[in-house]
């Protein structure tokens, strides 16, 4: 169905959360300015974006070749490659690997992919504790909350909330202030112990280079380096779309990502590793790469929708989005919120699961303007709306969508004929008289008009339409004549 109940209902709650509204307004305003400055420094930014788009497009068109190459290189470098058709299969693989390593806990780098497949929950069911080590992920985990942003999962929480949380859950925090530096220090002390003792690390991947079999993780805090360097066993779970053919392609991405993401020239740490390093030994002694489909191949089959797979998770589209800024990420009901979430979540999980998301946008296009790999998000949104409607048609138009469909089909008939259109104009004018006062439609009406009138006045149809005025002119010229053309 093409209703929007789930997003709009969630937004209803989120919009009145004044603290979250303020946190998000502050955060998005500041990050937008930083991004603008960082991007403004690059002379040929638009050419670079176009190159980013081209690389991703070209890579997707031969995804099988690049994945096979990646597998071959990782294996040659002493790593093990596993394939997973869906999240459950990936979770089962990781669970088995952790058990085989003889561990009942793992340290984790923030990873969208493992959030998408619910890895932590799956591990917990198997009696394995997953420790999130990214500061914001730690906040989310301690608060038993859900991430609301792909880069800063706890963006909806402010410093005072985080202090309260740390005081409750972390040792030696009685004196903790809400100074972000003090909060970061508390997290540092808490996590250091885990970094030094847990022997299995789990990460996602920002990129994987087929040419060399190298995995790339881009981060700021250093927790990624800890998790990918210190444990004996490292397991990386990666969506199949993250592969890049060559190091030259990575070069372009590394010039696009940090500036778009955190508004920095470069992020503090970019880690690159190839299988198991043994000459000299450096880091984990066992490396496993899990390649996840999880709806990606289905997305790939949609020639317009597939560009959602180009996303490099910079979050610029979230930060610029006027809808996201106001509703926050939870309203999207998916680990991928914001504009990218609105096109990615329904495709990965299946269109029937997230029917409201393609409508969670005013199609203003600000996301497309900032996307470093030029994903035409508005185009995909509109395309997915069409798919949802056509699917509803196939399913026999159940539920509230039936009314909308009737209205749309009727209007399409009206617009298809000048005669019907002009008649409809006259009818609207006459009907409006009954509900109009001083030229404005009265605010108490049901249905779609009522939704408009909830916050906006609506002028009544003009006493004389433009075309009526035109016909009344003595010297007007109508190339069609006055006949009831079309």
């Amino acid at each position: 169905m093409s209703g929007t109940s789930s997003f709009s209902e969630a937004a209803h709650v989120a919009l009145s959360n004044s603290q979250q509204r303020r946190n998000l307004r502050q955060a998005t305003t500041s990050i937008r300015a930083k991004r603008d400055a960082a991007v403004g420094e690059v002379d040929q930014w638009e050419a670079l974006r176009e190159e980013g788009r081209r690389i991703k497009d070209r890579t997707m068109r031969h995804l099988d070749v690049h994945l096979e190459r990646l597998e071959e290189r990782v294996t040659a470098a002493g790593g093990h490659v596993h394939w997973a058709r869906d999240g459950d299969e990936a979770n089962a693989i990781v669970t088995r690997l952790v058990r085989d390593a003889g561990s009942d806990e793992v340290i984790k780098v923030k990873s969208m992919t493992t959030a998408e497949i619910g890895l932590n929950e799956a591990l917990a069911r198997a009696g394995i504790v997953a420790h999130e080590t990214d500061l914001a992920e730690l906040v989310i985990q301690l608060a038993d909350d859900r991430p609301s942003h792909i880069l800063v999962p706890a963006i909806h929480r402010n410093r005072a909330e985080i202090r309260t949380l740390f005081r409750r859950h972390l040792a030696d925090t009685e004196e903790l202030t809400d100074d972000p530096a003090a909060l970061a220090e508390a997290a540092r002390r808490h996590l250091r112990r885990l970094f030094l003792s847990v022997d299995v690390g789990v990460s996602g991947a920002n990129f994987a280079i087929a040419q060399t079999g190298t995995i790339c993780v881009v981060e700021s805090e250093g927790n990624g380096r800890m998790c990918t360097t210190l444990p004996q066993t490292l397991i990386t779970v990666m969506g199949i779309e993250k592969v890049l053919p060559t190091v030259a392609d990575l070069d372009v991405m590394l010039r696009l990502l940090p500036r778009s993401s955190t508004g920095e020239r470069m992020n503090p740490y970019t880690s690159l590793w190839t299988g198991v390093a043994d000459d000299p030994p450096d880091g984990p002694r066992a490396f496993h790469l899990v390649l996840l489909d999880g709806g990606r191949t289905e997305t790939l089959a949609d020639e317009i929708g597939r560009q959602a797979l180009h996303c490099i998770r910079c979050s610029a589209c979230l930060n610029i989005c006027p809808v996201y800024e106001r509703t926050g990420g939870h309203a999207y009901g998916s680990p991928y919120p914001g504009p990218i979430g609105a096109i990615l979540a329904p495709q990965l999980a299946g269109l029937r699961d997230h029917t409201s998301l393609p409508w969670a946008s005013s199609l203003c296009g600000a996301c497309y303007e900032v996307c470093p790999v030029k994903i035409d998000i508005p185009q995909v949104l509109v395309h997915l709306r069409g798919r949802v409607v056509r699917q509803a048609k196939q399913d026999g138009w159940r539920g509230r969508v039936a009314g909308e469909r009737l209205a749309m089909e009727t209007m399409a008939r009206v617009f298809a004929s000048r005669r019907r259109y002009e008649a409809a104009q006259r009818t609207a004018r006459v009907t409006a008289r009954a509900v109009t006062r001083d030229g404005l439609v009265r605010p108490q009406l049901p249905g779609p008009l009522g939704a408009w009138l909830s916050s906006r006045d609506l002028p009544a149809p003009a006493a004389q339409s433009f075309r009526e005025w035109w016909r009344a002119q003595p010297d007007q010229s109508d190339p069609d004549g006055h006949g009831g053309a079309a």
Binding site: S361, S362, R456, P479
Partner: protein, 244 residues
């Protein structure tokens, strides 16, 4: 030049003054204006709401009506509807698997202009002789800004208006929250966006908020009116046609 006016269903029905103003401005510049009366709606609402299949016949219809080779240009007082022809029509042709439609659109689209772009970029005119002694702020509507890329064409026209007190709108490029059916399907989020747009407009102390799309102006104006702010939303064409 022989110019066909593409009025849009919204302006035809709710804002006829915009159409008259457009005709005035174009005639004042010495052009012949014709109004193909068979025109109705370009199909944007259908195309953007998931009813692309239903929009395909409307695209065909548009091409038939405006494809008359005697028209040197097709001009519309709507950035959004002009962008519909440029951006979405080719996609509708592809969806309808209609190569003839695709060709016809490719032939027609270069002659379809949003009004301010037509005046400044096509005709090279900035001063149309208007007088408008009011404080005005300009909201760049999203589709004119990001799809058509009208850039500063409207501002050039406004700066040339006599006696105008033009003031900059804070956070001007942020969407007002209209978004077609978005304003209805996600009315509350739309309202939250509108609230910020309205307060930005009020912050300028302007009497009039102008723009290139009566759809967005219906939204902003509806908010300004509901709050009894005393500020009006007025299409750019009406400012350009005034006072002379």
């Amino acid at each position: 030049m022989r110019i066909a006016l593409f009025i849009t269903c919204l302006s035809d029905t709710l804002f006829p003054d915009t159409g008259r103003a457009t005709v005035d401005v174009l005639r004042r510049l010495g052009h012949e204006v014709v109004f193909p009366e068979a025109q109705t709606c370009c199909g944007q609402m259908h195309a953007n709401s998931g009813y692309q299949v239903e929009a395909v016949p409307l695209a065909r219809r548009f091409v038939r009506i405006f494809g008359d080779p005697s028209f040197d240009a097709i001009v519309t007082p709507s950035g959004s509807c002009a962008a519909m022809v440029h951006e979405q029509y080719p996609r509708l042709a592809a969806l309808g698997d209609d190569a003839r439609l695709a060709d016809a659109i490719a032939e027609l689209a270069p002659r379809v202009f949003e009004l301010s772009q037509f005046l400044v970029d096509r005709l090279g005119v900035e001063d149309v002789g208007a007088v408008f002694p009011h404080r005005v702020t300009y909201h760049p509507t999203c589709h004119s800004l990001r799809l058509l890329k009208v850039a500063d064409a409207p501002l050039r026209l406004l700066r040339a208006v006599r006696d105008i007190d033009l003031v900059e709108l804070p956070a001007a490029t942020t969407c007002c929250g209209f978004g077609g059916t978005f304003a209805i399907k996600n009315a509350e989020t739309s309202t939250a966006m509108l609230t910020d747009k309205v307060s930005a407009v009020l912050h300028t102390g302007a009497e009039v908020c102008t723009g290139l799309d009566n759809s967005c102006l219906l939204h902003i104006g509806g908010g300004l009116s509901r709050q009894r702010s005393g500020v009006r939303a007025v299409h750019l064409a009406e400012i350009l046609a005034s006072g002379a």
